[in-house]
C-alpha cells in the first residue's frame, strides 16, 4: 500500500464515525453533564432555579427519610422482580429449548414478542386483570382455592412486582436461552448414561452452565426494573412512588428541577455501580469455571 493510501485508511474510520460522534457529544454527553450540574443548583418556590453551587439537594436526599424509604422501595421492587423472573424464566427457557423445531420457534415468538409491544398497553392489561377486589386474577385464584380473601393488587407493591415481572420476563428468557444455545446436549446424555437422575442432571450439569445466562439476565432485569416508569406509575398510582416516578413529579408537577436532577443522578450512579460491580464479580467467578 502506498503511503497516501495508508494515510487515507487511517483517517477513514474517523471520517465515517465523526458525524455520529459529534451527535453523541453534542446531544448526549453535554445534556448529561448539564443534569449533574443542575443537581447542585438552588431552587425556591418563588425565585425558581438559581445557578449556584450548593449541596442543598444532596443534603435533603441524604437526611430526609422520605428519600431513603423511596429508594429502598425502588430497589426492593427491582430485587423481587429479578428473583421472580429468574425463578420462572430460567425453567421456561430450558423447557422451550427441549421442544421440537416448529413449536420452539412459535413459542419463542409468543414469549419474546411482547418485548416490542407498548409497555403502556401491557400494563393496562394488568390494570384490567387486577381491577379492584373482584378483578379476574382474584376471581381465578379464589375459585382455585389458592386464596380465601382477595389480594389487593392495584396500588400495591405486590401488583407492581407482578406486572413488572411480566414486562421484564422476555429479557430473562432471552438471556438464559442464549446460554442454553452454547450448551452441548451430549453432556446431559453422558450424565444420564453414568446413572444420574433428572434432579442430579439439572442441579449438577444444567444449573452451573446456565448460571452466567441467569446472572446476566438478572443484571438487565434489575437495572430496567429499578428505573421503570410506566408500570409503577400506572399500577402504583400517585402515592406509591419509586425513583423514576418521583423524578417525574419533581420535574413536571413541583417544578423543583434541581431536586429531580439529584434523584436522577443518584439513580444513574447507583445503577452504574451495581451493574459494573456485578458484571466484574460474575466475570471473575466464571472465568475460573470456564478456564
Amino acid at each position: 500500500m502506498s503511503a497516501a493510501a495508508e494515510e487515507r485508511s487511517a483517517r477513514a474510520p474517523w471520517a465515517l464515525t465523526a458525524p455520529a460522534l459529534m451527535l453523541f457529544v453534542g446531544v448526549l454527553l453535554i445534556p448529561l453533564a448539564m443534569t449533574v450540574m443542575l443537581s447542585f443548583y438552588d431552587w425556591g418556590q418563588y425565585k425558581g432555579i438559581e445557578p449556584v453551587f450548593i449541596l442543598k439537594n444532596w443534603r435533603e436526599i441524604a437526611t430526609d427519610p422520605y428519600y431513603a424509604e423511596m429508594f429502598w422501595r425502588t430497589f426492593r421492587i427491582a430485587i423481587l422482580t429479578t428473583l421472580l423472573t429468574a425463578l420462572l424464566g430460567a425453567p421456561e427457557a430450558y423447557i422451550l429449548n427441549r421442544m421440537s423445531g416448529r413449536w420452539k420457534s412459535f413459542f419463542l415468538l409468543v414469549i419474546l414478542g411482547p418485548l416490542l409491544i407498548s409497555v403502556v398497553a401491557r400494563t393496562l392489561g394488568w390494570a384490567l386483570l387486577f381491577g379492584g377486589n373482584n378483578g379476574l386474577v382474584n376471581k381465578l385464584l379464589m375459585s382455585l382455592g389458592a386464596i380465601r380473601s382477595p389480594i389487593p393488587f392495584m396500588f400495591t407493591e405486590t401488583g407492581m412486582v407482578v406486572a413488572l415481572a411480566h414486562v421484564m420476563m422476555p429479557f430473562m428468557v432471552l438471556s438464559v436461552w442464549a446460554a442454553l444455545q452454547r450448551l452441548d446436549p451430549q453432556i446431559e446424555n453422558a450424565a444420564m448414561s453414568l446413572g444420574a437422575g433428572p434432579v442430579t442432571i439439572i442441579r449438577r450439569i444444567i444449573m452451573p452452565q446456565i448460571m452466567p445466562g441467569v446472572l446476566s439476565g438478572a443484571i438487565i432485569v434489575f437495572s430496567l426494573s429499578a428505573s421503570a416508569f410506566a408500570t409503577p406509575a400506572i399500577i402504583g398510582g400517585r402515592r406509591l412512588k419509586v425513583a423514576a416516578t418521583l423524578a417525574y413529579d419533581e420535574f413536571l408537577n413541583t417544578l423543583n428541577w434541581p431536586l429531580g436532577a439529584a434523584v436522577a443522578t443518584l439513580l444513574l450512579v447507583a445503577l452504574v455501580l451495581i451493574v459494573v460491580g456485578s458484571n466484574a464479580l460474575i466475570e471473575r467467578r466464571y472465568a475460573e469455571v470456564f478456564r
Binding site: 414478542g113 392489561g125 437495572s223
Partner: protein, 268 residues
Amino acid sequence: MRRNGPLALIFHTVFVIVMVAPIVVVCLVAFTPEGFLSLPTNGFSLRWFRAIGNYPEFIHAFWVSLGLGALSSFVALLFAVPAALAIARYRFRGRDALAALFLSPLMIPHVVLGIAFLRFFTSAGLGGSFAALIIAHVIIVFPFALRLTLAAATGMDRTVEMAAVSLGAGGWTLFRRVTLPLILPGVISGWALAFIQSFDDLTMTVFLAAPGTETLPVRMFLYIQDNIDPLVTSVSACVIAVTMTALILLDRFYGLDRVLAGKGDTGR
C-alpha cells in the same frame, strides 16, 4: 435429548397463558358493547373503535408518533450506517470506546435521558418542540439501528466490493451501487426495530412532549392517569396491531430471533 415431562408442559402452558393474558384482555375489552370496562360476554361491538374518532387528541398523537418514529429512525440510520461500516471494517484506536458510546443509550435509564434532554432543549429554546423530540429519539433508537447495520456489514462478502473497485468504481458509486444493496436487509430491519422503539417509548418522551407534540404512548399514559375506560383499550388494541405488523415484517425480512438475540457484533 430427553422430551419434556407432563409437569414441564403444565408449567409451560401456565407460563404462556400468563404471558399473553394482559395483551389478550386489552384486545378483548376493546370490543365490548358495554359503556364500562367488561369482557364482551354478549356480542362484539366496534363502538369503542368508532369512539376514537371523537377524540382528535388520539388521532393527532398517532400521527405525531408515526412521523416521529419514521423520521427519527431514518435520521439515526444516516449517522449509524457510516459508523457501522467504520466499526465493522477498521481496527483503529478508540474503536471499542466508540462502540460503547454508541450503544450507551441502552444502558442509561430512560428517565435520566428524559430529564437530561428536557434540561438541554429547554435551555436551547427548543422545549416541547417536534425538533427536540426528533433529536432525542435519534439518540435512543441509534443503538438498534447501529446493531443491525453492524451485523450486516460484518457478515458482508467484501470480494464483490473489490471486484467493483477493480472495474473502476469508487467512493459514492461503490457505496450506492454495491455496498448499500448488500447491507440493505440489515439496514431495513434496523429501521423497523428503531421505529418500534421510538413508537413505543413513553418514559423519555413524557418529559419532552408538550400539548401538540404528545405522542400516542404519552397521550395514553396521561389518559390512564385520569381514568381507565374502554376507549383507551381500543386505542391500545390499535397500537398492538401496528406493532404486530412491524413485527411480522421484521420476522419476514430478517428473522425475529436474530433481531432480538443479536447482541451486536462489535467484534468481541
